[in-house]
Symmetry: C2
Subunit: 184 residues, 2 copies
DNA sequence: ACCACCATGTAACAGGTTACATGATTAA
DNA sequence: TTAATCATGTAACCTGTTACATGGTGGT
């Protein structure tokens, strides 16, 4: 045991193991952490969390112990093992590959000829509104950050949001121009 | 038949139906079109294409006819039906919802404390290289575009790529600074 | 001689979602 | 009294991937 050099783990498994390096936690805790801290870029369904954790134990990447509670439901606390750390480490070290955006909006734009311009504009406006909301949330967060790495992910989100806002604004303008002067 | 007002279709089904509005095509054609024109934001495996097409026929969204060929394998040509157009239309009109980036790189950054700075820098550099390559490909494409909607998706890609390049550059700088002056 | 293109599919697996089910405690 | 929090899970489904299998045609 311990010599399982190249065991493959999924993104969710890696993220859970990552959180477990910060201490023993329950599935409930993990899911909340995921929603809060990293929630902008990773948020599995809770059923997924509860499905993955026992698998981590089975594969030797975590251990669990039951904690009996008085006025709360009992819970399982999970800890990362040496093997778990090793698996996480090699996942973290794998060069990440850039995947193109799989955004359905782009397909709707691409087939824009099939939609009324006003509907298309509404779609783009919605993206802009959501990106703007994200930007505000992230801007509110930024200065108060003690951990520098969380900061970097926040800045990533900000760059992304700003890019989307820029694109949406220019796209809206262009579509509106086409509404005003429809060249059939 | 025809009154199936709110039949749900998946992104891939919508995209295939969208391409079929441009004419009768085989699975092979569709997959190639997907790779070329829209390939930046949507690219299903061919096995998926061949799996989805018969389902579209079963559900009444497309019809197929076999074309016997002499010096080539026979093929199935698919056409979109009235029901197919209706289903596509309502998919296109659904307001798209912005999903946060699920980029694994962000998780690696978030747990940056567990990685050597040099590895982290390499990860970010790789993203920057790939985003730069994408930017070049898209810039080469842009002026020659006859269809205006394809153009809008290209510009989306460009904004995205530029944002990633900006973020990566500033992140690299910051990580390198930390390498030079490690504040324990 | 080799490789790319045309053309379609199967099998096995991976990784995820939503909805449902349960049930006590505590704060507004 | 109503809602949120704590706490875990099952069942059904969906969407997708990689690897394998087949085999002729046409260009370099």
């Amino acid at each position: 045991m311990g010599a399982r050099a190249t065991a493959h783990i999924s993104v969710t498994e890696a993220a859970l193991l990552g959180l477990l390096t910060r201490g023993e936690m329950s599935g409930y805790d993990l899911q909340r952490q995921a929603e809060r801290s990293g929630g902008f870029f990773w948020a599995p369904a809770k059923s997924r969390v509860y499905a993955v954790l026992p698998q981590l134990v089975t594969r030797g990447f975590a251990t669990s112990r039951e904690v009996v509670q008085e006025h709360r439901p009992n819970k399982q606390l999970y800890s990362i093992t040496r093997d778990g750390r090793a698996a996480l480490q090699s996942w973290l070290e794998e060069p990440p590959s850039m995947e193109p955006e799989r955004n359905p909006l782009l397909i709707k734009i691409y087939f824009g000829e099939l939609l009324e311009p006003s509907v298309l504009i509404a779609h783009v406006q919605k993206l802009r509104a959501e990106a703007t909301a994200l930007k505000h949330r992230l801007e509110a967060l930024e200065p108060s950050e003690s951990d520098p790495f969380g900061d970097l992910t926040v800045r990533h989100g900000l760059e992304w949001a700003r890019a989307m806002i820029r694109w949406a604004a220019s796209t809206e303008k262009e579509l509106e121009a086409r509404l005003a002067a429809p060249v059939h």
